[in-house]
């Protein structure tokens, strides 16, 4: 039962383009149009079918995933969702406040199969040299696995960037949280 749940742990999995991967080395790495990340450890980068989504993982997306939603423009959804037309999805608005963005992230997760998504600990923090904010998440996968997440976001020039780390609550989230904290602190934005 537990194995079956673990295998279904990844949200946004349907957005993967296939099996194409690349090694993310520890040197500063550009993500999207304007972010540069210091990965801290080696990750595997996964190709997605969306211009604005990059996914990194250490042990596989079913066990941990770092999602970069970058350069989301006013009027665009943060992520697509299986079985839904883009025009029917709640869009990002440049007028959104951080509270609105946390709800948008929870909405995107829900539309990709997560259930009972809750957010907490929303607080202002730096995002590179920009004002940003950070919050925590908890949710269940469609098969009932308990997940935890933490997200860093910013909205310079009206565009939205969100970096979201998610992993099973049991063991995996705690194992990689210190690394993710360092990744978040390393972000620079151009």
């Amino acid at each position: 039962m537990k194995t079956a749940r673990i295998l279904s742990a990844s949200v946004f999995a349907l957005l993967l383009a296939g099996c194409a991967t690349n090694l993310i080395e520890t040197k500063p790495t550009p993500v999207g149009d304007r972010l540069v990340i210091s990965p801290q450890v080696e990750w595997t980068g996964l190709q997605t079918n969306q211009n604005h989504l990059t996914i990194w993982t250490i042990d596989g997306t079913r066990l941990d995933a770092l999602y970069f939603f970058t350069d989301i423009e006013n009027g665009e959804p943060m992520a697509t969702a299986p079985g839904m037309d883009k025009v029917d999805l709640r869009p990002y608005r440049s007028s959104m406040l951080p509270d609105d963005v946390t709800e948008l992230v929870a909405y995107a997760l829900t539309k990709n199969g997560a259930q009972q998504v809750t957010t907490s600990n929303l607080k202002p923090v730096p995002f590179g040299n920009q004002q940003g904010f950070r919050f925590d998440l908890a949710y269940l996968t469609s098969t009932g696995l308990k997940m935890k997440g933490t997200a860093l976001a910013t909205q310079p020039d009206g565009k939205l960037d969100v970096i979201l780390f998610a992993a099973p609550e049991e063991y995996y989230f705690g194992r990689y949280e210190p690394t993710v904290d360092k990744v978040f602190s390393s972000v620079t934005i151009h």
């Binding site: 951080p98 829900t110 009972q116 904010f133």
Partner: protein
């Protein structure tokens, strides 16, 4: 049997609601309706925000929390449960098998509507085995369920009201038709509504003491309503949930919580005029006595977006004073800092 395997799985799902009082209430209501079949049916409440319920041929009755949230009274819930009990009593799974239309190992789950079937089926890992039923069997379950519930004294007019409410929410959601709501195996909502109305008209005048039991259901649901409304809102695309909230507001005109969620729905939808509608709802919530502290935060956000800095500052200050332990104090202080000293 696949139903038994699914039932084993469902028992370990974290989405199962274990509240003893709520489970006892649902079990007692089911037994009242199922009579001699009571001991053959096990009730599971699953935390899924959609309107639906399902019955498996082994007697596993699953009720979604979205159904409990949307029923205005116990009578409406009784018609939902009675529909499922009717499938069980009429042995529709066996009929399908004998007719040679399905594989003997198929997993039959009878649902009250097509909408939302995916959630529980996916949780049980049975998506590939799901078998829907013919429209004729659904019509038969509607009719037999109506007879079961009215025989126990539940107001026959509530069956039609329930379908009116569900159809209104469906009509307000432009994505519903794309998702196949009310289609495939089930009769069209207008047909169900017409059938229930005709049957109610024939029966309603026969007695004056029909049961609604509004308070009985509300007493059980109230402790959960905040959580269930928040979870429903998280997945909202179009504001269709407003049809449910506005109906709740008409029944409970002084519920600050309902008004708060109306405000939240408008604020998140944010189409033309929604910010003003959100402000009105938050203010109405605050004028009532049971508003959540978050109503002040919601009001502060819409005032901030409207450029009403003094009103935003006042609302945020009240939020901070009413929710001293909230984990977002630093964020709200940041909002206040962005307002500056301008009115």
């Amino acid at each position: 049997m696949k139903s038994d395997a699914a039932e084993q799985r469902i028992q370990s799902l974290p989405q199962i609601v274990h509240d003893p009082a709520l489970n006892t209430y649902l079990k007692n209501l089911t037994c009242k309706l199922a009579a001699e079949y009571c001991n053959d049916i096990r009730v599971y409440i699953v935390n899924v925000p959609d309107f639906n319920a399902s019955m498996s041929p082994n007697g596993m009755l699953v009720v979604y929390t979205g159904t409990l949230l949307r029923c205005d009274n116990e009578a409406q819930l009784a018609f939902v449960l009675a529909h499922e009990i009717a499938h069980f009593k009429l042995r529709h799974a066996l009929a399908r098998y004998r007719a040679g239309r399905d594989d003997a190992s198929a997993m039959y789950i009878f649902t009250v509507v097509t909408l939302g079937v995916g959630a529980i089926i996916a949780q049980l890992g049975m998506a590939g085995d799901f078998m829907s039923y013919s429209r004729d069997q659904e019509r038969e379950a509607d009719a037999a369920g109506f007879d079961i519930a009215t025989a126990r004294g539940y107001d026959p007019r509530e069956a039609a009201r329930l379908w009116t409410n569900v159809a209104a929410e469906d009509a307000a959601d432009p994505t519903a038709s794309k998702r196949g709501a009310f289609t495939s195996s089930h009769p069209a909502p207008t047909e169900r509504l017409n059938t229930m109305t005709q049957k109610a008209d024939a029966l309603a005048g026969q007695r004056t003491d029909w049961i609604l039991a509004t308070d009985d259901l509300r007493k059980q649901v109230t402790p959960w309503r905040d959580k269930w409304m928040a979870e429903t809102l998280a997945a909202e695309d179009s504001g269709a949930f407003l049809t449910v909230l506005n109906r709740m507001a008409s029944i409970e005109p002084h519920s600050g919580m309902v008004q708060y969620y109306i405000g939240e729905t408008y604020r998140r939808r944010n189409t033309d005029g929604d910010i003003d509608r959100a402000r009105t709802a938050y203010q109405t919530a605050i004028a009532d006595n049971d508003e959540p502290a978050a109503a002040f935060k919601g009001l502060g956000i819409v005032e901030m977006k409207s450029g009403h800095n003094a009103a935003a500052r006042e609302a945020f200050d009240k939020y901070l004073s009413f929710a001293p332990a909230a984990d977002d104090h630093a964020m709200v202080e940041y909002y206040k800092s962005r307002l500056g000293d301008t009115p």
